[in-house]
């Protein structure tokens, strides 16, 4: 029978997280972030964390909550705008920041989960990102060697999950979650709806349960919107 990954909640799910660890956190902006796990990390008061996440949240939400408490010593991200406290800590030198092209970040996480220690990509050639990295031409075009990323814990957020750890994400809340799920030594998945094994269609699963060590149903999702852009219901538009 399937291997059950279900735990009671964020507290059990975060058991073993220690100061000084490297964590991956899924999400793009505030979309698809593991809200409940982040809340638990704040409560645990763990610090000196290295966080691998495409973004750093906003001042008062997402990873911004960990930045406020000075729990993060290093961020590995592709884009960290939208966060004044982040910019302050970075420019003052309190926070170490490693900025990586978004596609390389995604692929490095996937490589970490897939047992591929390194790969070549054209992204970043000729820029600061290439400093200290091997450059090699393929078909006459220069590429740089990028290495795999892994983490002690990966925290991901899905829409639905089953007790076997299988995950289905919703729309663009998928983003970095599947690759980070692959790359965590311990991957914690929080889901809006946790269902028994056998409930999800095996053809529609985005992250196979083998990549997930713990799963729980989160509570009180805020799912904050960063840029609420709408069309008026009165003015028709073909935009």
């Amino acid at each position: 029978m399937a291997i059950s990954k279900a735990v009671n909640g964020s507290s059990d799910a975060c058991d073993g997280v220690k100061s000084g660890m490297t964590l991956m956190l899924g999400g793009f902006g505030l979309c698809g972030i593991p809200e409940c796990s982040i809340g638990e990390l704040v409560r645990l008061r763990v610090n000196d964390l290295t966080c691998i996440s495409n973004n750093a949240g906003v001042d008062d939400f997402g990873l911004g909550l960990l930045l406020q408490q000075r729990q993060i010593c290093k961020m590995i991200s592709s884009y960290v705008g939208e966060n004044d406290e982040f910019e302050r800590q970075m420019l003052s030198g309190e926070l170490e920041v490693d900025l990586i092209p978004q596609g390389s970040l995604a692929e490095r996480c996937r490589a970490g989960g897939a047992g591929i220690p390194a790969f070549y990509t054209p992204a970043g050639y000729g820029t600061e990102v290439a400093e200290g990295k091997e450059v090699r031409d393929f078909d006459g075009k220069p590429h740089i060697l990028e290495s795999a990323l892994t983490s002690d814990f990966a925290f991901v957020k899905a829409w639905k999950g089953d007790t076997a750890g299988n995950l289905i994400y919703k729309a663009t809340a998928r983003n970095f979650n599947p690759m980070m799920a692959m790359a965590g030594k311990i991957t914690v998945a929080e889901v809006e709806e946790l269902v028994p094994e056998g409930t999800l269609n095996p053809n529609e699963i985005h992250t196979p349960g083998i990549f997930v060590q713990r799963i729980f149903q989160g509570e009180g999702y805020e799912k904050r919107i960063e840029q609420r852009t709408v069309r008026s219901r009165e003015t028709p538009s073909n935009a």
Binding site: L30, Q102, R174, M179, V230
Partner: protein
């Protein structure tokens, strides 16, 4: 002189039926508004959607459906969602026919800088480095000069680079410029803008043909 929507309108004319197009944040996002009705074009947003549609109607916003600018959007019929690794597989693998993005500086050798002002502003490169390193066809959409009136069309970039030798065409509020042979070539003037005004606003080497047509913007 064009406003931001004018720049977007002009760039929309570059798009051909059957193209997949990645639009960056800012002016590039506006390009989607000027695609002729019924034209077969799909917009990719690198956070994980192909077939991006317009902003949702008031009240229909979904926190789980955004574009790379973190704006709430909708999905068109035929749309598809995917993860970030697959998204950049599309980009790096050159399955996207056109990339439109903004810039702080563009150089006459095709270099572009748009992600960092050392010691002052560090937002990060996001997906821009992957896009410019991979795309065959890159159009930069930007204002010709910065707020201080200084040219952003330069002999060489002064800011940290996003990519080297990659920009083919620049559309600004003043002109359409092509980059080839290590120089800018003036292709079109914005409506009401003279060649002299463009020369004055351009710091990089600018090659001017005998006749410089005015853009046609509908």
């Amino acid at each position: 002189m064009l406003d931001k929507n004018g720049i977007a309108k002009r760039i929309a004319q570059e798009i051909e039926p059957g193209w997949y197009v990645n639009l960056g944040i800012g002016i590039p996002t506006l390009v989607a508004n000027y695609i002729p009705e019924g034209m077969e074009v799909e917009f990719q947003s690198e956070n994980g959607i192909l077939g991006m549609g317009p902003f949702p109607l008031e009240g229909d916003e979904d926190a789980d459906l955004i574009n790379a600018g973190k704006q709430t959007i909708t999905a068109m019929p035929g749309a598809v969602y995917f993860d970030s690794a697959t998204s950049f597989a599309m980009i790096r693998g050159q399955h996207v026919q056109l990339t439109v993005l903004g810039a702080m500086e563009v150089a006459q050798n095709g270099d572009i800088a748009n992600w960092k002002i050392p010691g002052k502003m560090v937002k990060g490169m996001g997906g821009a480095m992957d896009l410019v390193a991979s795309a065959e066809n890159i159009i930069v959409a930007m204002m010709h000069t910065n707020r201080a009136g200084e040219s952003k069309i330069l002999p060489a970039c002064s800011l940290p680079l996003t990519g080297v030798g990659c920009v083919k065409r620049v559309v600004t509020n003043l002109a359409v410029l092509d980059i080839r042979g290590g120089a800018f070539h003036l292709a079109e003037r914005a409506p009401g803008v003279t060649v002299e005004e463009i020369i004055a606003a351009t710091a990089g080497e600018l090659i001017i043909p005998n006749f410089v047509p005015e853009m046609r913007i509908n």
